[in-house]
Amino acid sequence: MQAFLELPEINHAVRHIIYQENKLKLYCYEPTHPKVNMPPLLIVYALVNRPYILDIQAECSFLRGLLAQGIPIYLIDWGYPTKEDKNLTLQDYILGLLDRCVMKVKEHSHASKINLMGVCQGGVFALCYSALRADYINKLITLVTPVDFHTPDNILSRIVRYVDVNMWVDTLGNIPGALLNQLLLMLKLNRWLNPTWLELLQNPYDSTRYQQYHLMEKWLYDTPDLAGETFRQFATALYQQNQLIKGELMIGQERVDLKQLSMPLLNIYAHYDYLVPPSSSQALEHHVGSKNYTAFSLPTGHIGLFTSKKARQLPFEIARWYSH
């Protein structure tokens, strides 16, 4: 009975902070594999939700899978923005915080160039940064990253086009995580009529299933607020105006041109993703300058890419591409 009552804790892989600025923390993970001379990988997660989904359970951890392949991992945790952060812009995040993290990883790992991996919205940040600061990036990996925001099957984008973004930001300042979370969950009717509980009820004494379910619930509702100005820019420029693939996106005074992405690029997406449909990610191929472009999808959903049994081979596949 005790096992059912205890709320499970996240048991992170061994890591330490190498840089901290405002709410941001940059982690370096302890290698678990003797293989050396692999270039460092900096993981950029989205501002929405928390990056511990990549390492939510030791036995099915995407991040530990990468470590086991000998890849030195660094991870950006953006933290929880508060009122004082409401004026942070995409420029502050991409050319400020992210840029300083890249410099710190270069310094810490003694590498002249690093590899970058972006997840979802973090993938958009990684694309923008790599296009603007291509000299620092050796290889780029994007996971479930939206590129063309106006594909016909992109329900989220279709809705955001009718959202009064300025009114949201002017009214709320930072956009509350709870609001974003409920909106995303409302898109998934299955979530509200979820048969998972039935499966739990059918095996009421399976404490492992219960713990897994609770961990996912904990992560799902752990959504930071989003800096108001960043939300305004991201929703308007990308979701409403689709500026990234049009080559019109401005980060500060600099225009993001995806043709500047000439480094090897690996683009991974999920076949059943309802937040970032495969068509949105697939569009990347037609807009980058890289001659070395690889893409594949897995038969899972947006989060399943990091938690599903169907994606267990993903770290191995990434490492294979990584070492070539």
Partner: protein, 86 residues
């Protein structure tokens, strides 16, 4: 609609909110499943959910449905600061 106040940001409140959401789901599901419980027809329930979801997606995939969805949220936010509304 949820609006943060100092109280709602207390860890105990957040935990309470999470728990209430989880248990609210259980109650909703138990009620919605009632007709099927007698037959233990879990598969039928799953099919029903899947059909409902497909209709819901078809609705949201059209401009009319997406606009309706966005309008509900815009209207809710208007309640907080009507001066910002168009």
């Amino acid at each position: 609609m949820f609006y943060h106040t100092p109280f709602t940001q207390q860890p105990c409140f957040i935990q309470l909110q999470q728990l209430s959401q989880i248990y609210a789901q259980v109650v909703i599901q138990l009620f919605s499943m009632a007709p099927f419980f007698s037959k233990y027809n879990y598969e039928l329930y799953k099919q029903w959910v899947s059909t409902m979801e497909r209709h819901y997606y078809e609705f949201l995939s059209q401009d009319e449905g997406a606009k309706w969805f966005a309008d509900q949220i815009n209207a809710t936010l208007c309640l907080f600061k009507p001066a910002n509304c168009k």
